[in-house]
Subunit: 495 residues, 2 copies
């Protein structure tokens, strides 16, 4: 059946429906999320056309370099993880261990792990504790202790449906009024600005230093904070993404201390987004938790009241299991009454996906040396890590060759964020279409090559600078060559 509606609208009569674009929640309207916006939608349309045999496009594949989605591209899941998950989904498999071993190569440690998890969660089809299954939180606490050398308490851990869900929870609790503000690095992963928009709270931007490999500039933070305070904003928290998204920057212990110094002095809650903690090529990852505990020992008193929430995820690193929506956050130094409110908040959505929780357990507690599944795990893990680094360098080399493109050396995460200098004529052409110049560039790139990247405007950037973010997940070098060729033609056309 077909139902038709009048499309004519006047100011006083906005059509027969109750909801229209002009009367829904303005905070939802205000929110922006470019990673899955117009470009991503168009790329998906191209993919479907190609899959249906459309030969009219000037490319034969779509490269989704717009989003850190490893298993959509080349990355294979870690065998041990998926073996355990298959046993959790169908525990009947555990009844024939011999057949599992001989036909499918499952080792005893996979079977043991599945049994241990099932003893705690009962079934992956049952709701768990709203903070996450107790055994799994114990494993996460042990992982944090081993990583940092400082104790962690399962009661302070909250498993969540990917770090995004954890960030949303934290910002929901922190932002109390329209003048609540949160310091957010620019460029940033747009989850932060989008969530602050939804909460009708203030994003207080602080700019990262591109010329210093996107380092964190303490002076920039201080200035932003002072400006926001002067404008009446109640700045309550600071977000740090380390390693950085979209920048790929990796913070030094000294940089982390600078942020903690400001947090301690200004009473800012620190939200440390550490989902790329294993994607580090240069130097070594230091967690905010570890640095905070060190400082608390070194300078008794000064940092005792710092509140820190740090996040991790199964989506990134060498795990790359985004589709499973698993993650956790740890609260350090929070008032127990505030933690109780966080518990209530997460309990309204009942619990995070239980199979995703189990994947968190596997990530933080992988096979150990000497265990039967260790060798293959190690091989797969290192293979993924090395492949990522190699592709990052290849892409970096390509960018170095491109006219008007500048790129910081890859340090970590899954992204490069090169700047582009566009000819004035290209900027005029963009304006004629009512678009940001970098958005215009990325659209032309997609139309010409099938390569989907995200314009810098989707993450924020200093005025009069232009960038785009690309992942280095896609296999091969063909797509990099497509970008190089497009770029040369684009520059020539608008010269």
């Amino acid at each position: 059946m077909t139902v038709t509606y009048t499309t004519k609208r006047t100011a006083s009569d906005l059509g027969p429906r109750r909801l229209h674009a002009d009367n829904i929640n303005p905070n939802v309207k205000e929110a922006k999320y470019a990673v899955r916006g117009e470009l991503a939608v168009k790329a998906e349309e191209y993919r479907v056309r190609l899959a249906k045999g459309d030969k009219s496009l000037p490319f034969d594949s779509v490269i989704f370099a717009n989003i850190g989605n490893p298993q959509q591209l080349d990355q294979k899941p870690i065998t041990f993880f998926r073996q355990v998950l298959s046993l959790l989904e169908n525990p009947a498999l555990l009844e024939k261990p011999e057949a599992l071993r001989s036909s499918f190569g499952y080792n005893q440690d996979a079977l043991d792990r599945a049994k241990k998890l099932l003893a705690d969660i009962q079934s992956v089809g049952a709701y768990s504790h709203s903070q996450g299954a107790p055994l799994i939180r114990e494993s996460v606490a042990k992982f944090i202790e081993e990583r940092d050398g400082f104790s962690a308490n399962p009661q302070d851990l909250y498993l969540c449906a990917g770090a995004s869900s954890g960030v949303s929870t934290l910002l929901n609790v922190i932002c109390h009024a329209p003048h609540a503000g949160v310091l957010v690095p620019i460029p940033q992963y747009p989850l932060y600005t989008a969530t602050l928009s939804l909460l009708n709270a203030q994003c207080v931007p602080y700019y990262l230093e591109e010329e210093r490999a996107w380092g964190t500039d303490v002076e920039a933070i201080r200035q932003s904070l002072a400006r926001a305070k002067a404008e009446g904003t109640d700045v309550r928290a600071i977000v740090v993404i380390n390693p950085g998204n979209p920048t790929g920057a990796s913070l030094s212990p000294e940089d982390i201390k600078s942020v903690l110094d400001i947090a301690a002095a200004e009473k800012l809650v620190v939200i440390a987004d550490e989902v790329y903690q294993t994607n580090v090529f240069v130097g070594e990852f230091t967690s905010f938790k570890k640095r905070l505990r060190q400082l608390q020992q070194e300078v008794p008193g000064k940092y005792d009241h710092v509140e820190l929430a740090s996040l991790h995820s199964v989506s990134k690193g060498m795990v790359g299991e985004c589709g499973h929506r698993g993650g956790y956050f740890e609260l350090v130094g929070f008032d127990p009454l505030v933690a109780a409110q966080i518990y209530k908040f997460v309990s309204i959505m009942l619990c995070p996906p239980v199979i995703g929780q189990c994947l968190v357990e596997l990530m933080v507690n992988p096979p150990k040396k000497g265990e039967p599944s260790y060798e293959l795990y190690e091989k797969e893990y290192n293979g993924i890590r090395d492949g990522l680094h190699k592709r990052a360098l290849a892409l970096y080399e390509a960018f170095k060759q491109m006219e008007g493109v500048e790129c910081q050396e890859p340090q970590g995460a899954m992204y490069l964020f090169p700047s582009i200098t566009m000819p004035p004529k290209a900027i005029e052409a963009a304006a004629a279409e009512g678009r940001q110049p970098d958005e215009f560039y990325c659209l032309r790139l997609l139309d010409a090559t099938g390569v989907c990247v995200v314009p810098g405007s989707g993450f924020g950037q200093k005025e009069n600078t232009l960038h785009f973010r690309t992942t280095f997940l896609a296999p091969g070098t063909d797509w990099v060559e497509r970008i190089v060729k497009f770029h040369a033609e684009f520059m020539a056309k608008y010269q």
Copy 2:
């Protein structure tokens, strides 16, 4: 290391931390969610004590009758579903079909289904389309078409992490200001009031008719609506839970028409929570979508502009896979520009758990007659359905015997919601503890028997009435006898 904080607080100095219970988001503080509140936390503590060998409690097991969590209790997952999910988690299993069949009893249709899903989603570890994988939305559309006899469009479907997440999305978009209101049945599942609190919007309660098996009273809706409008509330939507939670009531086609009449006349968006659509003992389930399409055919024009969002879930019914967090909602009659905002909103959280999406596919597209897995599926499905009905009736019979307890005949869902008449002395004892009388009753019940139910005050109830909600999921009758015995002693004590 131990960090200590001063606990002394004055009005002007609320401690050294930035966040405390008095300055976080007041909407979070305001939200109430009794299903996982104090009673549930205490029950979990008892469970842990028993598991650790504590013999000091007057019961030897905790019965979680507070929450519809079938697989925490007796219910086994459907074999076919879990076989397919195990293959999705470890596609390497598909390489040895003979071993799968001979050692583990997988039929060819399970293998075929896994391959078909993998061809669409690539990996359960990859992000999907934010609305859900295209193939899965096609299956859901077919299911709705077969259920209702009216067409459904995959583009109007949004997979979500359980219906709770879908409800949150819808209310986020609908509620535009503090004077936005949503009609919610009382008693209700507290997700609705909690989410409205979080959004700082108005819950406009309408009372269900207990004496008419918790039927929907059109007059009550009209009165609530008129009162709210007079108070300046912009009432935008009406929630209907059918079959009812916590009431178990099942709406007749006539009742549904009454709601749609009001929605059409008053321009209210209808949110139809239909997660218990297969848990119907009395009569037959009619969806709001079907009834709306029928009315649109019968009375051209009158219902054309009605906006309906209906929700379904893998958590309930005979599937009972709550831990997987799978569900969907369908939009009918929504402005495409509003739908675009809903898409953007869900895209901020990237996508629902992909394995949960696959479970949605299995739920709506189970093995068909003639297919190898059909017979076992049918047997398991009917076994669960009959078991639920049997337990509902047994519990109902027990309540009929109890002094001061009245209960409507079970019609559907997973709950009974009996009313209790408490002696004045018991009500005084509750007041002395600063508790609602029904909360007092449920706490005493838990302390004495280990049976955890939820007080009626957690769902809302008419003034001067008291209730509790219990699921009828727990196996056996021992726990019912515990309730009967406790109740007799409670009544005697406070006589």
